[in-house]
């Protein structure tokens, strides 16, 4: 069965560079969530989209932005990267129609050096 696909799996960037993380939800899932998990931390909610519109916003820095496209994939754009942005970034998808089981991708490990 198709799962949530995230790319790239690993990314190394220097401080002040930009990064773009991509998430491809499970087919027919219209809701996407982004989470950030720092080293030894629990996942923290960043932002979510439903039907290509932002539906909720968590602790996402102003340097980050995200969007969901017409094919429901989502991209998280991160600018002016800081060392503290090094983390595992997860994407999850659901149908958004009362089905609250979220399926997670394997994550993108971002390392800022």
């Amino acid at each position: 069965a198709a799962g949530v696909i995230q790319s790239p799996r690993h990314l190394i960037k220097e401080k002040r560079e930009t990064a773009t993380l991509k998430c491809y939800p499970i087919p027919r899932h219209d809701t996407v969530y982004w989470y950030q998990q720092g080293p030894g931390q629990d996942p923290q909610f960043l932002i979510s989209f439903y039907e290509k519109m932002q539906s909720d916003k968590g602790s996402i820095p102003d340097r980050f932005s995200a969007q969901q496209f017409s094919d429901y994939h989502s991209e998280l754009n991160m600018s002016s990267l800081e060392l503290g942005d090094s983390a595992l970034y997860f994407c999850a998808s659901t149908t958004g129609q009362g089905d609250t089981e979220a399926f997670f991708g394997q994550g993108t490990r971002l390392t800022v050096v």
Partner: protein, 111 residues
């Protein structure tokens, strides 16, 4: 705000022994509760979930969890742990259409 607490940061059990991981929730109404497992460097895999109904929930990999309203708990159990169960386990609840995770419990299995 709705939240979950996992009081144990690390737990070590012997292979073949029983396991119970604790999770307490804070919410007046019936919450949606989940247990996820994360192997090192991997994504989160859903073990089981509770929305309503039967308070004993069966999940994958031989795990089960029991919702106890009187104790505000949703503890994860397994009767016999395998070495491959070593991972980090997260309890989560739904709040505002998003998941809120506990701090996680790292399970070590000794042979």
């Amino acid at each position: 705000a709705q939240s979950v607490t996992q009081p144990d940061i690390h737990i070590t059990v012997s292979e073949g022994a029983s396991l119970e991981l604790r999770c307490n929730y804070s919410y007046g109404a019936t919450p949606y509760l989940f247990w996820y497992v994360q192997s090192p460097g991997q994504g989160l895999q859903l073990l089981l979930k509770y929305f309503s109904g039967d308070t004993l929930v069966q999940g994958i990999k031989g795990f089960e969890a029991e919702f106890k309203r009187s104790q505000s708990s949703f503890n994860l159990r397994k009767p016999s742990v395998h070495w491959s169960d070593a991972a980090e386990y997260f309890c989560a609840t739904e709040y505002g259409n998003k998941l809120v995770f506990g701090a996680g419990t790292i399970l070590r299995v000794k042979s």
